[in-house]
Point group: C2
Chain length 217, copies 2
């Protein structure tokens, strides 16, 4: 039982720093999304596509979270975007203080939109507020249509779901209707996007939503 | 820093129970594998295929670990196999004491092989010994060939890697050679299987390995 108590203290402390982050982001007039998913659902690919489509329209900065390596930051930096890599050295989620320190290094880049790519993990990062405006959960169709039921916290905490790799549906046993209905059972307020980074389907709709959010922020 | 200390205590306690489990499993002459992966890499499908192929040859029992739902246990129980579902209620990994309690309910089924399907998470379960004989990590090709580098602990702790969904390689940008070479960079001793539950490719080789392990145990 002591573990739960300590965990609560960790979360309370994290929530305090997240609120400070929120205030910092508000002062800088930057819209912040926290992108959450399993490993390999396509977070980095969606970010790459988003940057390509929004170049000249929205000034984007990226914070990458990974257990090890700066492979994702290398991919993003090729697109000439301010990017900071957080390596958690084994920790399974980002925390608000890590994001605060990372943002400190890119706060003067005049960005309108900060995309935080969390560690690939469909469980733990759900509990950690980073100070973001929106949590966006990504699920690829290859992961199966039962995942919202099996990992409900992430889908409950997010307001937006990107169903990715929809070009692969014909080659899997994933039923898109079942996936969506399972997700909406967990969270009836979820707004759902359907995307493929291979065919670019759905990327424009996702980017239009982002532009609206950034401009009305 | 205090978190790390507590985490160490949790791990030490877990390791003690894992050793007790190992002793129990030895006395029962049961071979135990701990199957680890991201959500949706195909753990349950591989277990279903394994049960189908080994029926009449090996007596199998299954422990299912999930954050929520007993969907996986429902799938396995259709194959008339003793199965226990552990619902962790939000916890991101199985621990040795949960496995001890679950095994207690199926210890008298005369099984030769216990398959433990861990919570879908490529980070946290790596740290928790359950008393198994072998850790088997599963990675599907749709997750991308960089994952062993980004989530090294899981690949370092496992002796066996199943690369699953190889039928989907033509539809992804995953390079099988790169995936294998990245995995072997992290752990040169990894034995690698390549499987597809859709075409059944590689399932026989995997099952032959299991039969050998169980019979020589």
């Amino acid at each position: 039982m002591s573990i739960i108590t300590i965990e609560r203290k960790v979360l309370e402390k994290n929530d305090q720093v997240a609120e400070q982050n929120r205030e910092i982001f508000r002062n800088k007039k930057i819209f912040v999304i926290n992108m959450l998913s399993s490993p390999g659902s396509g977070k980095t690919s969606i970010i790459e596509k988003t940057i390509e489509m929004l170049t000249g329209k929205v000034k984007i900065a990226v914070i990458e979270g990974d257990v090890q390596t700066d492979l994702d930051a290398q991919r993003i930096s090729k697109l000439n975007i301010p990017v900071i890599q957080i390596v958690t050295n084994g920790a399974c989620h980002l925390e608000a203080n890590l994001v605060r320190d990372a943002f400190d290094k890119i706060q003067n880049t005049g960005s309108d939109l900060l995309i935080i790519e969390n560690v690939g993990n469909l469980v733990c990062p759900a509990a950690y507020d980073l100070g973001e405006n929106e949590k966006v959960v990504i699920l690829s169709v290859t992961e199966g249509d039962d995942k919202p039921l099996k990992y409900p916290a992430m889908f409950r905490k997010s307001d937006y779901l990107i169903i990715n790799k929809i070009d692969l549906i014909p080659y899997t046993n994933c039923r898109l209707d079942t996936l969506k209905s399972n997700a909406l059972k967990i969270n009836p307020k979820l707004h759902i996007f359907e995307t493929s980074c291979t065919t670019s389907e759905g990327i424009e709709e996702w980017c239009c939503w982002l532009i609206n959010k950034v401009s009305s922020h």
